[in-house]
C-alpha cells in the first residue's frame, strides 16, 4: 500500500501508527456517534432511486449500498493522551451490470438527484468498459430476502461508553506497564461501527449494524548501557464484539504453559500490560536461539496469522485466477490441484473451514455486500483441498451455483469484491490439553502472539516470528528465547501438523487492516484455532551485529 493512502494518527512503538485513510471520515464529536442515521423507509426509497435508474438505463443488474461508517480511535503513550479521533463517513455506492460488464460509482450526495447521477455514471462506465470486455459477467443466483436486518450481538455499545472511561483504562494499563519496569508504552483502542443498507434488483433490502473493537499496545524495555531494546506487543485480538471485550472476565482467561495468561472472548488489558513489561525486560537477557530443527507448539494468537497468510490468501479465487497478479500475487493452489480431488494441503488431522457466521469474529455478518446470506463451508477436509473462497461472479468457474457470501467493500466509496472470510482450523477431536502437548515434545519452541511475517506471491515460502518464544526441552518449558523465526513451505508445514489441542483451547486471532486490491482496500478477518504442534520446522536465528 502506498504511504499516501494512510493517515498518521500517533506514534506507536518505535514507528508511527498509520491508519488507512479509508478508515477515516469527517471528524465529529463523540456524542454525535450516537445520533441516529436515516430511518429504514428513507433508505429503502433512496436505494430504489438507484435500482430504478439503473433498470431504466438498461442495466441487467444493480445494487446500492448506503453506508454510515463510524470510527472512534484513542491513542495514548505513558501518562499522556495523544489523540482521540471520532469520524463519520456517509454516502452511497451503486454497482451495475450493463452489456455484461461491471460499472461502479459513488457519491456522498445522498439525495434523489445525487443518486441518479451516480447511477448514470456507473452505467456509462460499464458500457464504456464493455467495449474491451472479453469475459461477460455471470452471476450465481441469489435468494430474494425481502426486507431483513442483522446486528452484531453486542452487550456494550462503544458509542455509549464515555471517552474518559476509555482514556482512563488505557492510562491505567500504561501505568501498570511502567510500574512493572517498562521504559515506554503506547496503547490504542480502535472501535468501528458499520451501518450498512444494501438493496439489489434481485429483491433484497438488508439493513445491518456491525461492531468491531481492537485494543492494543506496545511495551518497550531498554538497556541503555548495552544499547539494546526489546518490545512486547499486546496479546489481545481484534474482535467482532462490543466494548464488553474490555471486561477482563476471569472465566475467559487461559493459563499459557509458560505461566502467563491468554485471553479468549474477554481481555484484561491491565494484566496483559503488566505481563508485557516483565517479558520485555526478560527479553533483554534471554538466550539467543540455536538455529536448527524444532517441533513448534503454536498458540492460537500466533497460528491465526500463519493460517491467514498460508491458507486464507492462497484460497481466494480471484488470486487463483490472476486478478491480483500485479499486486498481492497469484496462488500455488491452482484449479488443477483442486480438480484432482487429492491434493494434500495438510496432514489428515488438518480441517480448515471458512465461516462468515462465527460469533465474536471480525468477519461475521448476516449478509455479504452483495446480498448473499452468509454461511460456513469446508476449504480443507482431512488434509485435502476441497474448495475456495468465491463470490457471485466467480463460483460458476468452480461449477458451483451458490456464492460463498464473502464479498466486501471497505466503505460506500469503494466497489465490493472478493475478500477473505474467517478461515479457521478445527480443534482436535480427542481431549488433549496444551500441557499434554508440551509434555510430548522433546526439542521444541512454544510461540505465542503475532510477530514479523512474510510470504511469497504464490504463498509457498514463508517466514514467521512471534511475540514471545519459550524453549521446550524434554517435555518442559525451560526458558525464554530471543531471535526466533521459522521458515517453511505451506504444503510441507501443514503436512507436518502432528497434533491439535481440543476445543477448550480454541480462540480467535484477528487482522484489523488486511489489505488487498488496487486501489487497496482493507478488511477485518478472524482466524480460530487451538494450540497445534508442527514437527521438524526450520528455525533460524535472526540476531545480527551491525
Amino acid at each position: 500500500m502506498k504511504r499516501r493512502n494512510f493517515v498518521q494518527l500517533a506514534g506507536l512503538g518505535a514507528g508511527a501508527l498509520m491508519v488507512p485513510s479509508a478508515m477515516m471520515g469527517n471528524n465529529i464529536a463523540a456524542e454525535a456517534l450516537l445520533e441516529p442515521g436515516l430511518d429504514i423507509a428513507t433508505k429503502k426509497s433512496l436505494a430504489d432511486v438507484a435500482l430504478n435508474t439503473a433498470r431504466s438505463l438498461g442495466a441487467s443488474y444493480a445494487d446500492a449500498r448506503i453506508g454510515r461508517y463510524l470510527n472512534q480511535y484513542v491513542f495514548t503513550r505513558e501518562d499522556k493522551v495523544q489523540n482521540v479521533v471520532n469520524t463519520e463517513s456517509f454516502g452511497i455506492g451503486v454497482r451495475v451490470i450493463a452489456n455484461g460488464t461491471w460499472g461502479f460509482a459513488s457519491t456522498n450526495d445522498v439525495t434523489d438527484a445525487g443518486i441518479k447521477k451516480a447511477t448514470q455514471q456507473a452505467v456509462s462506465i460499464a458500457k464504456a468498459n464493455s467495449k474491451i470486455q472479453t469475459e461477460p459477467v455471470t452471476l450465481a443466483p441469489v435468494e430474494a430476502h425481502g426486507e431483513v436486518s442483522w446486528k452484531t450481538p453486542i452487550v456494550k455499545d462503544f458509542r455509549e461508553v464515555p471517552v474518559s472511561e476509555k482514556v482512563e483504562l488505557l492510562l491505567d494499563a500504561n501505568a501498570a506497564a511502567m510500574n512493572a519496569g517498562a521504559n515506554f508504552v503506547n496503547s490504542a483502542l480502535f472501535m468501528v461501527n458499520e451501518q450498512k443498507y444494501f438493496a439489489s434488483t434481485d429483491g433484497s433490502y438488508i439493513d445491518q449494524d456491525i461492531h468491531r473493537i481492537w485494543p492494543t499496545f506496545g511495551v518497550t524495555a531498554i538497556d541503555r548501557e548495552a544499547g539494546k531494546f526489546k518490545s512486547r506487543d499486546a496479546l489481545s485480538a481484534p474482535m467482532g464484539m462490543g466494548y464488553e471485550y474490555m471486561d477482563g472476565l476471569e472465566s475467559e482467561k487461559l493459563k499459557s504453559p509458560a505461566g502467563f495468561n491468554l485471553y479468549r472472548n474477554s481481555y484484561d488489558i491491565i494484566e496483559d500490560a503488566t505481563t508485557a513489561a516483565k517479558q520485555a525486560k526478560e527479553m533483554l537477557t534471554a538466550e539467543s536461539v540455536m538455529p536448527g530443527k524444532y517441533d513448534l507448539v503454536l498458540e492460537p494468537n500466533h497460528l491465526g496469522l500463519t493460517i491467514h497468510e498460508s491458507v486464507g490468501h492462497p484460497l481466494e479465487l480471484d488470486r487463483v485466477l490472476g486478478y491480483e497478479a500485479n499486486y498481492a500475487g497469484t496462488s500455488f493452489a491452482t484449479l488443477d490441484k483442486w480438480k484432482a480431488g487429492d491434493f494434500k494441503y495438510g496432514s489428515d488431522i488438518v480441517n480448515i473451514v471458512a465461516d462468515k457466521t462465527q460469533p465474536h469474529s471480525l468477519g461475521a455478518v448476516g449478509y455479504d455486500d452483495e446480498g448473499v446470506k452468509t454461511k460456513k463451508w469446508d476449504l480443507i477436509r482431512n488434509g485435502t483441498l476441497v474448495n475456495y473462497e468465491a463470490i457471485r461472479d466467480q463460483v460458476s468457474i468452480l461449477g458451483q451455483n451458490e456464492s460463498h457470501g464473502c464479498c466486501y467493500a471497505q466503505s460506500w466509496n469503494d466497489v465490493q469484491f472478493q475478500r477473505m472470510p474467517n478461515v479457521s482450523l478445527e480443534p482436535g477431536k480427542e481431549p488433549y490439553s496444551v500441557e499434554e502437548m508440551i509434555k510430548d515434545v522433546e526439542k521444541g519452541i512454544y510461540i505465542a502472539g503475532r510477530g514479523s511475517y512474510s510470504i511469497d506471491q504464490q504463498r509457498y515460502n514463508f517466514q514467521f516470528g512471534g511475540t514471545v518464544f519459550y524453549e521446550i526441552k524434554d517435555g518442559k518449558i525451560v526458558g525464554m528465547l530471543n531471535d526466533v523465526a521459522y521458515q517453511s513451505n505451506t504444503q510441507e508445514f501443514w503436512n507436518s501438523c502432528a497434533k491439535i489441542c481440543d476445543e477448550k483451547d480454541y480462540r480467535l486471532f484477528g487482522s484489523f487492516f488486511d489489505g488487498k486490491g488496487q486501489p487497496s482496500q482493507v478488511s477485518a478477518v478472524s482466524h480460530g484455532s487451538s494450540t497445534a504442534r508442527f514437527n521438524g520446522a526450520n528455525v533460524i536465528n535472526t540476531g545480527r551485529s551491525v
Binding site: N129, Q458, N461, A485
Partner: protein
C-alpha cells in the same frame, strides 16, 4: 474541480479563520482529482475516478486542542466546522506536547505540478492498458497492471499568520507480465510528476522480456551472494531505512540510531564512505512539497555524508525539548550514484545474482534494521561476467546497514516511488531459503 488555486485556497482559509475565537487555530485545506485503470488476464477489470476535498480545522485553548473536518466550503459550513473544532477542544484533555503554531515562513517555489498530468482522460488510461496488453498477448504473455494518476493541492493557514500552498501531480504505473505456461514472470514500475515522460509500451516491453527470460528458472543453493540490485530492489530495502532517522526514538534508546551507553549515532560512520544520501524537494527528477505538515520549510538536507550520519529528523516538540532546531522528515530520498555501468557490473561479477525487485518485506529486528522478504519477477544467475540463466526466487534476511557496508559499485540513478536510487552491486547478501513462487 477540487484543485483550488493559491488565491482561491487563501480566500477560503481566511474566511474560515475570521470565524475563529480560539487561542490558536491551524487550518489545512486539501483536494484531489484522481483516476485509475486496472487490468488483469489481458482485459480491463476495473476503472475509477475519485474527487475529494476537505478542510480540517484544529482549534486550541491553552494546551487543549480539537479537530473538526468538513467537505463543503460555503460560509455557513465554514463557521460550523470552526465552532465544532472549538467545542471539541474544550472537551479534550491537555496535550503536554502541544506547540504554538509557527509564525510566517518563506518557502521555495515547488515544481511538483505538471498540467499535462492533471489533464489525463479515461481514454488515455484505456490506451495505456491496450498498449500494455497487446504486445503481451502476441508473445503468449498475460498482463496485469495498474495505472493511477492524480492532481492535488494542499494549503495551510494558522492564527499566527503562516500561509503555505502547494499543488502537485503524480502518475504511478506497475505491470506484471506472466508467461502463459506459468513459469515466467516480469515486472516494471514507473512513476513521474509529468505524464509526458511516461511510455507504457516501453515499460511493458521490459516486463515482457523479463517474463520470457525468466521462464523455467533453476534452483540454486541459498547462501551469501554478490547481488546486483536494480534501483527498484534497492528502493524496496533502502526505503525502510528512512524511518531510522527519527531523532526522538534514537534519543529514547529504541532505535538503530541509539548508541550503546546513551546518545545517538549522529556524527558516526555507519556505512561505506561512498554512501551519500540526502533529500531535496527541488530536485527536478523527484520534486516534493517545499513545506512539511507542521509548516516547516523543507530544504536540501544531507542525511548520510561519506558514510557518516549527518542529520536526524526532529519535530518541533522534540527539538524544543532537546534545545535544537527542528529538522523536518525527508520528503524524498536521493542516493548518489556512481559511474559503473550496468554492463560493467555484470562483467566484473564472477558469481552473483541479478535482482529485479523484492517483495513482502517485513521488519525482523528493529535493533539491527534486519528485514526479510523475497526476490520476485526476474531473478538471474551471473557467472564469469555473464547472465547465465534465471533462478528460483530467494528469501533474504538482511539489513540495509550491512548491505551498505558491503558496497562494491554504484551505477546510474533512476526514479522509483518518488526516490532517486542507483543501481548497486553488493557482496555477501544473505539469502536464507528458496521459493517455488513464480
Amino acid at each position: 474541480m477540487a484543485i483550488y488555486t493559491e488565491e482561491e485556497a487563501r480566500a477560503i482559509l481566511e474566511k474560515a479563520m475570521s470565524f475563529s475565537k480560539a487561542d490558536a487555530c491551524v487550518m489545512n485545506l486539501g483536494g484531489s482529482e484522481s483516476g485509475n485503470i486496472r487490468y488483469a488476464r489481458n482485459t480491463v477489470s476495473t476503472a475509477g475516478h475519485q474527487s475529494n476535498q476537505s478542510l480540517a480545522v484544529e482549534s486550541s485553548f491553552g494546551k487543549k486542542s480539537g479537530t473538526a473536518t468538513i467537505d463543503e466550503f460555503d460560509d455557513e459550513s465554514l463557521e460550523k466546522v470552526v465552532r465544532r473544532s472549538e467545542e471539541l477542544a474544550q472537551l479534550s484533555p491537555e496535550n503536554p506536547e502541544y506547540m504554538e503554531p509557527l509564525g510566517p515562513q518563506t518557502y521555495d517555489k515547488s515544481i511538483t505540478y505538471v498540467e499535462a498530468t492533471a489533464n489525463v482522460t479515461p481514454e488515455y488510461r484505456a490506451e495505456v492498458a491496450a498498449n500494455s496488453i497487446k504486445p503481451a498477448a502476441v508473445q503468449d504473455v498475460t498482463a496485469a497492471g495498474f495505472l493511477d494518476d492524480g492532481a492535488g493541492f494542499s494549503a495551510m493557514l494558522n492564527s499566527n499568520g503562516l500561509f503555505a500552498y502547494n499543488k502537485s501531480t503524480n502518475v504511478d504505473f506497475t505491470v506484471t507480465m506472466r508467461t502463459n505456461d506459468g513459469t515466467g514472470s516480469g515486472w516494471v514500475t514507473r512513476d513521474y510528476n509529468d505524464i509526458t515522460k511516461f511510455d507504457a509500451e516501453e515499460a511493458s516491453a521490459i516486463a515482457i522480456d523479463k517474463a520470457v527470460m525468466s521462464r523455467e528458472a533453476r534452483a540454486i543453493e541459498p547462501g551469501r551472494y554478490t547481488v546486483i540490485l536494480e534501483p527498484a530492489a534497492a528502493s524496496d530495502l533502502l526505503g525502510r531505512f528512512r524511518g531510522a532517522f527519527n531523532a526522538r526514538t534514537a534519543d529514547e534508546g529504541r532505535s538503530f540510531m541509539s548508541k550503546e551507553g546513551g546518545g545517538t549515532k549522529l556524527g558516526e560512520k555507519i556505512v561505506d564512505e561512498r554512501v551519500n544520501i540526502w533529500s531535496d524537494p527541488l530536485h527536478p527528477d523527484v520534486p516534493a512539497s517545499t513545506w512539511s505538515g507542521d509548516g516547516l520549510p523543507r530544504k536540501k538536507t544531507q542525511w548520510i555524508e561519506n558514510g557518516v550520519v549527518k542529520n536526524l529528523a526532529y519535530d518541533r516538540y522534540w527539538a524544543s525539548q532537546q534545545g535544537v532546531e527542528p529538522v523536518p522528515f525527508a520528503a524524498n530520498m536521493i542516493m548518489e550514484g556512481g559511474d559503473t555501468s550496468f554492463d560493467e557490473m555484470i562483467k566484473s561479477t564472477k558469481r552473483g545474482i541479478l535482482v529485479t525487485r523484492f517483495w513482502y518485506i517485513r521488519s525482523v529486528d528493529p535493533q539491527t534494521l534486519l528485514f526479510t522478504g523475497l526476490t520476485r519477477d526476474g531473478t538471474f544467475y551471473i557467472e564469469n561476467g555473464q547472465i547465465k540463466y534465471p533462478v528460483k526466487n530467494f528469501r533474504f534476511n538482511e539489513s540495509p546497514i550491512i548491505m551498505l557496508n558491503n558496497l562494491e559499485a554504484l551505477g546510474k540513478q533512476v526514479r522509483v516511488n518518488g526516490n532517486l536510487l542507483p543501481y548497486m552491486k553488493v557482496r555477501d547478501f544473505t539469502f536464507t531459503s528458496l521459493s517455488d513462487a513464480v
